[in-house]
């Protein structure tokens, strides 16, 4: 798959936005990461494959630059890009309530990939505050698999839903001259009123 230079520069910018978004999230003091907003944007603008590559590049780069463990979760970012692109193809970002639903579906998809990685490589534990929730679920008698699934889903559903909504708004507000550069956007605009 030879990507055009325009696609490469878009993905480079999207990876940068993914990394900088975490900083922006801190300014607003909201319990969201926003660290896949660039991935979703590329998926909606150019399709699932390019979205997936953006996610992969983000995690690999974070692994080199900031947290070596980020690279291990690269498959999760790939799945986020793929699912967002497929959902966009089906009009999943053409209305705000569709975007909310897309966020839910993306959270589910990433959970399916993140749970096995998390359990097999990390014993289901993350070393963050969500481990308390995990411990509570386990203490309540749930299996490790169910507990880790619920923990990961809960930790991501708000973030991915809000990110999807934000991406819907971003593409809705794009100027015509920028829109014209991304034919894949047709899927997100065709049903919009």
């Amino acid at each position: 798959m030879k990507l055009s230079t325009h696609t490469l520069t878009l993905m480079g910018v999207a990876v940068t936005i993914n990394i900088v978004a975490a900083l922006i999230g801190k300014w607003f003091r909201l319990p969201i990461y926003l660290d896949c907003i660039g991935t979703l944007l590329v998926a909606v603008l150019q399709g699932p494959t390019r979205g997936a590559v953006t996610g992969l590049a983000t995690n690999l780069l974070l692994g080199i630059m900031a947290n070596p463990m980020s690279a291990v979760f690269a498959p999760v970012s790939v799945v986020i890009g793929l699912s967002a692109g497929w959902l966009a193809r089906m009009g999943g970002f053409s209305r705000w309530w569709y975007a909310l639903l897309s966020g839910l579906l993306i959270s589910t998809a990433l959970m399916l990939v993140a749970v096995p990685i998390n359990i097999y490589l990390f014993g289901g534990v993350t070393g963050s505050g969500t481990d308390l929730f995990l411990a509570w679920l386990l203490h309540g008698g749930k299996s490790l698999y169910a507990s880790v699934s619920l923990t990961i889903f809960s930790a991501n559903v708000v973030d991915k839903t809000l990110t999807a909504l934000l991406v819907w708004l971003l593409v809705k507000r794009l100027p015509l001259r920028i829109e014209a550069q991304y034919p894949y956007l047709y899927h997100s605009h065709r049903q919009a009123s």
């Binding site: 055009s4 480079g12 001259r177 550069q181 034919p183």
Partner: protein, 280 residues
């Protein structure tokens, strides 16, 4: 055969016609200034000329453009890069985003041409000196001011030593001293480099161009002499004219100087005119 041969170019973006029946023949080494107001289509014209329209903006077009007798589609990418370089209006958009230093930014394109390390270094040194960027050679391009970025964008294009250099409002971010530095730099362009200046004001045009044109309502009006060009510019009323020429035009409008007398284009020429008037 002219280097650039544009025949009956028409271009419309959606329903909005931008260029109408534009014709242009440029020979090797000519320096053309195209003057026009904001939104008249200069940048679109420059993009057409450089063969790099933005993806999705090809719109509706007709006419032909041949470079050295061939259309742009017949050029391989590196040959295209060696033939034409276009430097846009916004300085921060003219850098690759791949270079950690100013020197690297200048060297980037030259390296891609397959030049030897010695030749690349020579071109980099030459360009840094010409653009007065030597002190910033190791600086991060993203930390430069607007004016410095503009000089860097032009310098990086010059390092490619293209046959055609197209500059879109090159002085827009520069203070008067920096504008003069850039004018001096462009005067050092190799003799056989064809220069196309796209601008809203005539300062650069008067100091660098050998041919002049005005882009108005999508049409390109050519002028061989600066005098006719400045009078036409005044008639079109779309330009911020040269203050020197404006005074010259005002003198002629008040019949203080003969209409046929050549317009002054430099301060010295204007001073001489005013001295003649006061002596008379």
């Amino acid at each position: 055969m002219p280097l650039i041969d544009m025949q009956h170019l028409n271009f419309a973006y959606r329903e909005h016609a931008v260029l109408r029946d534009v014709n242009l023949q440029l020979e090797v080494g000519e320096h053309l200034a195209v003057i026009g107001g904001n939104g008249c289509g200069k940048t679109t014209f420059g993009h057409w000329l450089s063969g790099r329209l933005v993806q999705g903006e090809t719109g509706n077009s007709s006419g032909s453009l041949l470079i050295d007798g061939r259309p742009w589609s017949a050029f391989e990418p590196l040959e295209h890069a060696r033939t034409v370089q276009f430097v846009g209006q916004l300085p921060e958009q003219q850098i690759t985003g791949l270079a950690a230093t100013v020197a690297d930014e200048v060297a980037f394109g030259a390296r891609n041409l397959g030049l030897s390390v010695v030749e690349v270094d020579r071109r980099v040194e030459q360009v840094l000196r010409a653009c007065e960027l030597q002190a910033l050679a190791q600086a991060n391009p993203f930390e430069l001011s607007g004016g410095e970025l503009q000089r860097l964008g032009i310098g990086a294009a010059m390092a490619m030593q293209p046959k055609v250099l197209i500059l879109d409002e090159p002085g827009s971010n520069l203070d008067p001293a920096s504008r003069q530095v850039l004018i001096n730099t462009l005067r050092q362009l190799r003799q056989h480099t064809t220069l196309v200046l796209l601008d809203v004001c005539v300062e650069f045009a008067l100091q660098l161009a050998t041919r002049f044109a005005i882009l108005e309502t999508g049409q390109l009006h050519h002028f061989a002499e600066p005098d006719a060009f400045l009078r036409a510019a005044d008639r079109f009323g779309t330009l911020t004219g040269s203050p020197v020429a404006d005074v010259g035009l005002a003198l002629r409008a008040r019949n203080l100087r003969a209409q046929s007398a050549s317009l002054p284009t430099t301060v010295a020429a204007l001073v001489s005119e005013l001295k003649d008037l006061s002596d008379a």
